[in-house]
Subunit: 289 residues, 3 copies
Amino acid sequence: MKKLLYQLDTDLLPSVFDNVVAHDGGADQVIPYGGITPDNMGPLVEGVIFTRAPKDKKNTAIFVGGSNLVEGESLFSAIQNKFFGKFRVSLMLDSNGANTTAAACVAWLTQGRPIEGKQAIVLGGTGPVGQRVAVMLGRAGAEVTLTGRQLERTRQVCAQLNQRYGLTVAAAAAPDLESRGQSIQGKEIVVSTGASGVTMLEETQWAQATGLELIADANASPPVGIGGIDMTDRATLRHGVLCFGPLGFGALKLALHRECIGRLFDSNDLVLDAEAIFERARILLAASL
Amino acid sequence: MKKLLYQLDTDLLPSVFDNVVAHDGGADQVIPYGGITPDNMGPLVEGVIFTRAPKDKKNTAIFVGGSNLVEGESLFSAIQNKFFGKFRVSLMLDSNGANTTAAACVAWLTQGRPIEGKQAIVLGGTGPVGQRVAVMLGRAGAEVTLTGRQLERTRQVCAQLNQRYGLTVAAAAAPDLESRGQSIQGKEIVVSTGASGVTMLEETQWAQATGLELIADANASPPVGIGGIDMTDRATLRHGVLCFGPLGFGALKLALHRECIGRLFDSNDLVLDAEAIFERARILLAASL
Amino acid sequence: MKKLLYQLDTDLLPSVFDNVVAHDGGADQVIPYGGITPDNMGPLVEGVIFTRAPKDKKNTAIFVGGSNLVEGESLFSAIQNKFFGKFRVSLMLDSNGANTTAAACVAWLTQGRPIEGKQAIVLGGTGPVGQRVAVMLGRAGAEVTLTGRQLERTRQVCAQLNQRYGLTVAAAAAPDLESRGQSIQGKEIVVSTGASGVTMLEETQWAQATGLELIADANASPPVGIGGIDMTDRATLRHGVLCFGPLGFGALKLALHRECIGRLFDSNDLVLDAEAIFERARILLAASL
């Protein structure tokens, strides 16, 4: 029996990235649907859960993707609400690659290094990846601050995260280089998830920061978001700080994404969102070292 | 050479149900197209019939689906008009699952029980499944009445069926419980295909009806459409009547749907609509008992 | 690792013809996208080039199709502009089948017959196939004239071809039978690529033309575009002229199309447009004789 993955994408054109990785992750057939919303997903999900016998349902799964994480979360939730009893399949959320990217980044940062009680900051963290990084750092025990350009928007994002995940992420506005330089004072962990093309920190700003232990830049489009970091840094020591660049944890991101797809077909009731994906990232990384 | 099934769906989002079943039925690749109409199907059908050598054309087939049977019938007909000479492939119509659902239901009702000359009634029969049930009962020799909420609409439906299939299905309005209770008097076969959520008959209405032999409820979404019937009834004797619930013939529906898909690839000139699908249902059911 | 072909089509409904041939040509999975333009292809192409390791990129490829060659060329060019360094995959352009149809036609015309310096004319040549035929004849050394109904439009087309391919194709208006009959005087090669349903030349017009050696009709929908030619002609001698009908070179067209798809997966940097496809047509034809 073929392993069928229904790729439900909130964008009109379903992600090719997710499509390729789904094929490589072990789906026999990946069937992409674009423009999917909570309003039109009903018949699609019924088609998924009503067509195969209970023992065979593990061979069908759903992947939720698209460029917008908020839309993805709504769709993910609506799909789960259609499930009942044994009429369910495994599903995964990875809009904008946010879960797998954040999980790979934080798995590397925390590999062999407990971060409980550490001071962490996510610069430019209001987007999908930044939010997921904050959640994963917070769940791993760090004291997390998340910065954005606008204080109000940043507070809203943090309030939602804190409510949803039971965290205490603090919000801060840091719209320019100077304020971002200020914001990292006293932090032990800095992760940048700002928009590509924006310099989030210059090298001189972090090179002499006292107490800084770990720094990661998630911006995969040149130029780098944090000066002095190389795209391929992977626990590279610079100015006494362990540095991670986007390509440094990119291999784990892709391996993780593929592995999660494969796991979907192990049972018919797996739900892969931030926490479960982060857990898989840690296991996968530990096994690879 | 791969068995390619082009799934032409009249809805904008092609049916996932049909897609899964097509994979399970033996197609190597199922390529879904949504929003297909008689106006835009031309180049698609040409692509199907002009690409493979005559001896290989049996490895390409077309499935017509969607939620609207009238649109499906138009598309089905338009596609056949594009075929000429050896430039044709096998194709199947199953909009809304109407053909396979009705065929499974009527095959169970008539299995080992000739129904020639019997009085049959299809309650709430103006929809896709009801129409197909009426056709199949009529072709099997029953005297069929079809009811709907509005007399005029019901008469139109019956007139079209009678013209198209050479039948004499009678129309009757039965908009409420009382009128439906009246309508089954003297009937030997009752099939309910009303909208989900509507109680078509209460148990007391049919429990004491004289001469009633067979009763079937096609409504697969709880609550049941006919009181006293269990979803899983399959020739279950209740009040002296053989009862069939939607899950009771649902297994045959799915097996039939899959089997029909597989048959499409046996030759390049099979046309699977109501009659041929009903014939396959009878054979499949007999072979399984 | 599966060979994935992303079929990016400029039409809203991706070509079924191209889809079937892609499956037959060796792609393990063909993923069709409709309505693709230079403006929306960016994320799709990034998904293609960023998902697999360098050594595996040859297993992903892009096919550009659709009914409009001008739109196809723009898309083809935009996709190539997204490639950089090793982040590229093989890709093929065949909007409206123009490249494969023209290549098969001209390969047959020139097989074993050098045409350097010969006078050639493409009747009704402003469309996709005609333009590609003119380019291929010109690159093979013929002196090419291209005719259309309107002189201005025809001149524009030729100017673009000449600039793009370094040719000297001459433009001529030939809107009716008489002018087309005039236009072939002194020509040694005549190819008709006019709209289907239009008689481009009557048999009497070319039967006595002096010096005429080769004549081909690319119109695959009856009636034939050139009187006296049979659809299946393949180097058939009529009135002392070697004749080719659309079905005569159609087998090579399909074999070529399939072969080109297969070649896409040999490396990650193949670019299949007019010249490369024509070269493959010549090799394929020579090997088959």
